[in-house]
Point group: D4
Chain length 252, copies 8
């Protein structure tokens, strides 16, 4: 039972559409469920939607397709929205057999199934990407934010070496409620964006680059040392995490 299901139940009680005994029984049933399901190799946290506003998300990395499919099945069975990140084609094959209506975004590498348990955010989440190569991470962020109930806009290929491309879109920057900035190489874009707006900027370093980019370390350090004080940072390539934080903010 998630927060909106709970609210619906209470509303029905208040409206006299359901007897209190019936409501009591439904609530007790919900409470009797263990807060998590133990599959042996995984414990699925079914109260997470209540506690944190969105059901448990499955990190595909390091799990076998069979494990992901089993976890996904449990989640969907409870009526929760499904999000699997870092999912390979092979993993999607396994999930699809169990959940035929699941979707796969190959660029973002996410498996999704939207259900009725997600509240809408208040404003727009803007996803900005420095270069074409940063798109897979940017799309992971954008897809996640959308699934979590947010209006999402995209602004891509506006790296700092050609400032006019970014300055041209200042209006779009100024209307967002929270901004995710995805950048590899020197990771300078979040500083520049943050200097132009008055909303929180969440920076995502990407592993794009070569040589002394060291798989995203250069971008990560650049963002951590941003001279613009409105920038916080998530792990390299962690588009999902950035979107989750943006969504938390956008639901405040």
């Amino acid at each position: 039972m998630n927060a909106s299901q709970l609210k619906t139940l209470l509303d029905r009680v208040a409206a006299g559409h359901i007897a209190t005994e019936e409501a009591e029984r439904e609530l007790l049933d919900a409470l009797r469920e263990r807060p998590f399901e133990d599959l042996g190799f995984a414990r699925i946290d079914h109260h997470r939607a209540v506690r944190q506003g969105f059901p448990e998300v499955v990190l595909g990395l390091g799990k076998t397709p069979a494990q992901v499919a089993a976890i996904a099945t449990e989640i969907v069975k409870r009526g929760s929205t499904l999000l699997v990140t870092r999912a390979s084609e092979e993993t999607f094959e396994a999930v699809k057999i169990a959940i035929p209506q699941a979707n796969y975004n190959a660029e973002a590498r996410v498996i999704t199934l939207r259900q009725q348990d997600v509240a809408a955010g208040r404003g727009t989440v803007l996803v900005v990407a420095a270069g074409t190569s940063d798109l897979p991470v940017a799309e992971e962020a954008a897809c996640t934010a959308e699934l979590m109930g947010n209006t999402v806009e995209r602004l891509y290929d506006v790296g700092v070496a050609g400032l006019h491309r970014l300055l041209n879109e200042r209006h779009q920057l100024s209307t967002a409620r929270v901004i995710i900035v995805v950048a590899g190489m020197e990771g300078a874009l979040p500083s520049v964006v943050s200097g132009l707006v008055s909303v929180p900027v969440i920076a995502v370093p990407t592993s794009i680059g070569y040589g002394a980019s060291f798989g995203g370390i250069a971008a990560l350090l650049g963002m951590l040392n941003s001279c613009a004080s409105g920038v916080s940072v998530v792990n390299i390539d962690n588009g999902f995490g950035a979107a989750n934080i943006a969504s938390l903010i956008n639901h405040l």
Copy 2:
């Protein structure tokens, strides 16, 4: 002219308390000012309050006391709230001569002077610290957030090796609108806190520790790799930055 001064002016126009000609002249005067003041060694950004909701903050690190005092004087002269971070006692001596009403918090190492240009935040910013040694950074965050118009609560010495100290204060965690978590050593506290709440957590690694803590790198990496997806991170010891982001969120 900052956002609230502007609003006041427009309200007075709307209310007929001021002639449009007079208002026009005031606005033109404001626009005629250069958006920054060039002191040779520094360009003070006087439009920052308009653009980003809080006047330019002075990072004391690497500036001479005389330079800080000169910059601070310009800021205060315009009626802007003053915040100098990483300020030594010596720097405060120099500032105090120019601005006698300025305050110094020795633990947080900040110089402050509150003026009438800061809007109030909407909820509570909670500052959580893992250990006693993390207090200077936590206090930098708390003082900054207060100066920026937020209601601030503190929850200190609740490290993960004694979970009951934290679990005891779950009520305080659940009532905050945004949480700053300050921790050194292994930096595990933000993950645990984030798992208990549904609001954004901003993690500040501190340089507290020894040996393989590498001046805060261990804590920083721990926070970036948090298995809790609501955590974003700022630079090591950057209490100010965390507070600034928390304040941006709390003013949304």
Copy 3:
């Protein structure tokens, strides 16, 4: 001749079941054997069981299947229990031809053959894993500890971002004599577990994670900097080493 074979012999002497001359000859034969077997590319340490309580273990990494098979054959020939870690399927193929009764655990990647030379440990070794992706390393630890004569329990997928999953199993934590905690990402679980118990915790960082996890460095540093003082650490992904230490402790 290992420690238990030696004890048996002496008991038989004491009980008069064997003549002292016969016992003397057996002992001299055992001592005449070289303490190691030189295969050219490897020297197998046949006295290790006497010296350290468990026969020499074969690290499969960096050895050809043929080399592993030859070493394994020598070990089994002497009646010693066989353990090959980091063994590929291909290596197992080669070993199986020489030792048909050998077993392979594909998840843990170990080849085993239990013989009569291992003493039982005194209490329970509990293996705790933070996430599903940490299972291969956790299973390497669990299989090793079992083969070394210990009672082993498993507690999986109890990462710190969902504390209730761990707190739910406090009883299991409190009944173990030594605990192995396997975790990737920020590696915070050992600190939390150690704060809940009064037995030694051996932490195993895993290479699970991405970006700034740097192949397990983040988890390793987190564990080395644990604010809980009952945690010692082994190399990244070294489930075997953790189990070996746990077994040494559990045999004290």
Copy 4:
């Protein structure tokens, strides 16, 4: 009320030396105490002795002398044994005023006060140090282990470049129940010691060395990569942590 105070009470009840009502009242009083004392800047964990066998230890690093003195006073007031690590002379001055009977070991940099709440360990903890320069860390370990109720032996300056010095003392190695090995530079001593014994070895890298020792990283990496499988590792210079683990093992 710590574990031994509790046991004494129950024994007195069993022996009829105290009325059950009296015992009940004492127990209730103990339970009524908050499990920690909130000093504002610190929460002292008074139940730690019950939970983990030794009262809370104060890490002096990063705390002001006044803070340490206040915490120490609370600990001693409850009848708990006091241990402050990384304590400067200046800190000891402050503690001494509040607790005149406290002791200071300048080489180990620990402040101690033994009280009646510590149980005796079962065997000997042997502290081995590679070189003369490693003595401060070795002494921190030895003093801690002694305070925690263990019989401690020392074996110093037996580095691997002069093996005969170590091999000469094999008897001492073979009679210990747990061994702490402290070494800087290449950190090879734990591997060699572990190869000679069948008990757990806890390795402490020290920051002794220069150039490519990188403040103890070389020794730390050497120990983590030990080819001897009975070695676990604690943080650089963490003599206290090693002793705490050794004591946990020695009390099993």
Copy 5:
């Protein structure tokens, strides 16, 4: 004899102002001089001006004041322009005794004495600095470039978090022949500047920053990974090196 002295001599020969015998003798004398002066602890390279357009520069770091003074004396004795970088006040004291006309710039930490042996550059070298804290390095660059015969302009405190400060000065950027950009923290300024101009940009990371700036590594990596392809980089804090390269380019 440097290039301009040589040219003068040949001109005088051509003009008949000096007899060929006299010129020959002067040339032979010059050739007879060893190309370097061996002071035991240093070999001064007197032909460097011929080979590379500017006399040998003395790096003050790691040399005693007495050593610097001795080397400086030899250089000045030959009529060469003197430049000592990384010079402490104490070093200047020693040099001043030997060379009373030498100058000291305390902010840039350089000792200089201009003589008649330096050719003028062709255009303007612009030195741009991101923040007030970067000024010592920027001034080392500016002083060096001036001493090497270049027209130098300065543009300070134009960091990327307040882009309008930089965009305001686009004219100054567009008129330089080569640009030195000095920045600490995330080091993003060179990318932005290079995107606005069509001349070479030499980036100098500074050690300004804290935490994850790692003494300038973050800025260095940011610059090496610049997405603007006109940026080359010198060592952290190496204002002198940047100026030397800028001067080589400006003399082409």
Copy 6:
């Protein structure tokens, strides 16, 4: 419209070969074009040739063949010279279909198509490579510099362990206007070359080497710490960047 097209137009106006109305219309058309083309996943910067002297270059890394082909088509359509770096065979296949006259250099991994929009450089760019293994990077530099309008010479396999091979070619060194030095391993060659010449040296570390070369870090650090002050550095394996800077210098 690039700089040379503009000049041609104005010359034609001056010569009376075109009516001013016609010229005005052409200019207005050019200005009416957006300065960049938005392909969704990329914004192509068509004014870059005007701003920086060479059209936008496509970094092939991290882009799909289809994306590169689409971008390349837009560039060529405007009459701009095409350069794609880090291009795989597969990428070239895709480009070739759209632009049959495009060329591919497999060693340098660049796709090129020269058009009429590039001005000639003034002197010679010399590309020096330390070893045979450095050739792919050296060729990327050489091809880029040629395409950008420069006369290019090559001097390969002249590493510092056999100095006579380099000293033999001093004439070639002395006649270049700017020198690119490509080296892996210890990266010492730029220091030696720079000591022999009076022109700027641009150093390119390569990822060639093994063990402690760390994918080019050793060479990179060697070059950044060059004791020769005429050396600036670009990213590891960044032959293109070095050539672009060399070309900027050679066009001054």
Copy 7:
């Protein structure tokens, strides 16, 4: 003409077996040859045998099979001994076509062809390896040392965790003139060996290990920080380099 060819010539002159005119002509011919052969992509150093006692060695890494074959052909044509290191099977295929008598050692990955130009060393070079996995590097060293004219002995699998295996072979250690010690993991073996002998020890770290061995860095640091002062170190996996140095020493 190498050193021994030169000596033979002079001996023949001294013995009157050749006319001085004839000898002069031969010498002039040799001098007329360029000291290196320029193949475009490589300059083969034909005087290296004269200068350094062994002909130029070909590092196979990063060269195409065709390039290696061309270089090898030039070397063999001059009667020089051939050594190609890091050679793949594929490279050997190419070399074999040109030089059918060339040999390949697949474990050591070297291509060799011994000719008459190598002088014998004076004593024995002992190659010691810690584990079976270190054998490829140890064999590269052993093959190289043999080809360079040295008597070579091998002592394998004598790691420090089983000291008796090493101490058993002390006689072999004491009779070597120079010792190469190859070890991965913690790299402690060179310290132990060096403490037992009075000859130079050359340490070769290998990339064998996992987790915090970081591809050989742990072993490298261990060796650089050896507490035994007779140890010098070469690059990770550089068996060839160690053998070359050992051979230089053994030919003194």
Copy 8:
């Protein structure tokens, strides 16, 4: 009793200058001495001279002056040559009281006292230093090599940016039996020197430099990756270690 004392005794026996009984007694006395002296904090290895050709050397780093003085006294008492490295002035004060005839070299920071127990080396050890700042390390090497019985020559300030200074002294290079090369910054000098000679080169990186020299790491990596195969490396600033190895080689 060291090796030369032993030889003298046997010669006297052979010559009949001493009775065999007397010699036997002297030998037995020597054997009866423990091979090391246990001072509690240090075990002095009195057989080291026999085993390794030079008595135990005292590393001053991390030892108190009193500890060094006590160790030094024991060494000198046995007639062994004294060498203390990394000795501060303060340490020398303490040693001098106990051993008035001891000498101190303040630049090299060594305390020495030559006695009659050191054999002469066979050739010359040449110490080459790149810059004036490298002299303290170079002098540590030179003083050590002299004390160990070697003829030592010095060649200072011959860095690779001014090659003619080095090439000018090729004769000196060619007459050495072993060469120590000391260099900071990019550490390129050993490669260049090794390419010019056919004797072993021992490279010592120094911590001289700034910024990306990282306290000598850049030089260390440069030397480990030397493209000249005759170079082996010791720890940063380890002049003593280089000299010890050079002396071992020079005594072969």
